[in-house]
Symmetry: none
Subunit: 415 residues, 2 copies
Amino acid sequence: MDAEIIGVGRELLLGQISNTDAQYISQKLSQLGINVFYHTVVGDNNKRLKEVLKIAVSRADLIITTGGLGPTMDDLTKETVAEFLGIPMELHQPSVEQIEEYFTKRGRRVSQNNYKQAYFPKGSIVLPNNHGTAPGAILEHDNKIFIILPGPPRELQPMFEEHVIPYLEGKSSEKIISRVLKIYGIGESDMEEKIKDLLINQSNPTIAPLAGASELTIRLTAKTSRNEDPYKLIQPVEEKIRERLGDVVYGIDDDTLESVVVNLLIESGKTIATAESCTGGLIAERITSIPGASQVFLQGVVAYSNQSKIERLKVSKETLAQFGAVSQQTAEEMVKGIIETSGADIGVAVTGIAGPGGGTKDKPVGLVYIGIGDKNGFLAVNRYNLLGDRKRVQQSSASLALDSIRRALLNGDIG
Amino acid sequence: MDAEIIGVGRELLLGQISNTDAQYISQKLSQLGINVFYHTVVGDNNKRLKEVLKIAVSRADLIITTGGLGPTMDDLTKETVAEFLGIPMELHQPSVEQIEEYFTKRGRRVSQNNYKQAYFPKGSIVLPNNHGTAPGAILEHDNKIFIILPGPPRELQPMFEEHVIPYLEGKSSEKIISRVLKIYGIGESDMEEKIKDLLINQSNPTIAPLAGASELTIRLTAKTSRNEDPYKLIQPVEEKIRERLGDVVYGIDDDTLESVVVNLLIESGKTIATAESCTGGLIAERITSIPGASQVFLQGVVAYSNQSKIERLKVSKETLAQFGAVSQQTAEEMVKGIIETSGADIGVAVTGIAGPGGGTKDKPVGLVYIGIGDKNGFLAVNRYNLLGDRKRVQQSSASLALDSIRRALLNGDIG
């Protein structure tokens, strides 16, 4: 099956947003073994969209549109698909009810134009939207499949997972499964060097390394007939890669450094507290973004001012005066202070210069100290010189801190 | 002039990368007054790329390709454009020298296939690449303009700034400027209702509303001749929209709720501290993401456990026992406590149930109390029932908290 993805929306053509929907859908279709040969983006314009649809049906079997399902006059994707196929629009009563419920829950009034979102080309399978007011639709017509999806990723993605993937799987005789290995703490070329022979000899599963902003992933994708288990093909290759790379492989699929840390803490029955300066609460925020964090995360202090480092974390005035807020000594006292004042088993502290201001020759922007320790007296502080802008320095510092905790827990250093 | 942007590359169709080149070029062309009516993405395939070029010349005057200029056999954009137009390829001697210099500087040997990157369709204006080995090209042919650019953004963007923009400005008699109004605290349809007549009668500037995850924007775009000032057209319309919408318009262009809050605090010379439970440090993180936050942000407490609410924020045991951690009373004491213990002028506190666990019939997931106050005794706590998953509840709570501070500062309620 060959697919074309059509993004509809002026905001894409103006460059206000990037076409991440096409990226997301392409990834998912690739995992399903469906070829994507074209992406197209067109504005909310009846004539141009119809021309784009005409081109798409001439070169693809599966046409997926994203966007243009909103309540406003501008939004015309469904209507244009219906017109293009010569199919009338029809009111879908369950969608009326879902839309009314959506607004009632939020204590808001349904405005008249929201009912527009409950009309679909006749014969559509309507896909409920649990994260917004625009349902999607699947329409089979003349041996072509049209899938009409809302634009906002937080609406599109769950709809795709819950409804589109099962639908497309039903159309296929193959089973394709992917597993993503999540990797932190090694460079791209070092990693590739270590698994070079596996990369050269890959076939089923395929092995696809990908470098992100601060992490690497390796996607293993195996294909079998519907009554076999593709995991059986993935497993031995995954084991080989883990042997070669060691503990830089921190998780799989949806794992994040913070989810792995929270789970390790839950398993070991240990609690943690954070003391942050330049990361400004980011480590606490990443830990508490994980459901169940309240079992292990007691508290965090964002000690931005010197005064707060003294009062909240018992950093000594003398240390701050002699070595400065960004120093090995201050980081050590922050770790000790957060463990002592919070009562947590484990403490983590970060102090550094995120920039753009505040750097000096001796202490440039990007200088960061990250410390971890526990109430049994373990204490380790590392110094880093990080590159990038403020946001990048803050994110890298938080990732390094989380990875330090992960490794120390795995090695039995802390806890 | 009407443009189409053609992205060439398998990595786009597999979803390994997002088409940020199209977004970047669209923004730039929009600022130049050039309409972008289509984006297309196609693989590194001679036949399909030629078909895409054929469609593009039928509907655009300016065709910009990105990608497919590498040294490998896969890279065939230039060759395919030449073949499509019936123009021979020609060696461009200055590019040979530039490529050799690029490798010599890096202590690397030029491999034979790198010379492929010095061939161009005859008659091209060659665009030097100061950040890689693939030069770009501009080719005028039969009243159409073809601009051929490398894929990597760090090569494409400087080439676009240095060579493409001056070239295109020379072709245009118009000037175009956009301003984005940032809006928080009103729904999309309510907003459109209030400016309906402006939307219907828009022409120059155009008025484009856009709904994001939790915010709205309105982009005003005005076009004038080169010796006039497009802002003169934007200004009266912006004023009308601000009159209709009031203080839900919180900023313009790159403003965020947190940047506006930090700037209002800097202007008023006031300091702030945060006390967070369910947002887990997100408010502190958003405030400290803004350069200069250290002038106004003293500290934050992420008081996740009851014990930390008692010890760090002086919330009374009785209040926690009688009303619970998620209650009006606890929120009030958290605000008072953070102001008292931090010495900040202004305090903000959030306590709630982010989910997925922890909800009860009386206190469901999404119940959040947000309080703000100051050291002069002002105190206000609002109760919200927020929808969505954990992440959404946390993000919405943080945005509501930041917006509460913004409004209170604007109204002179706190400070």
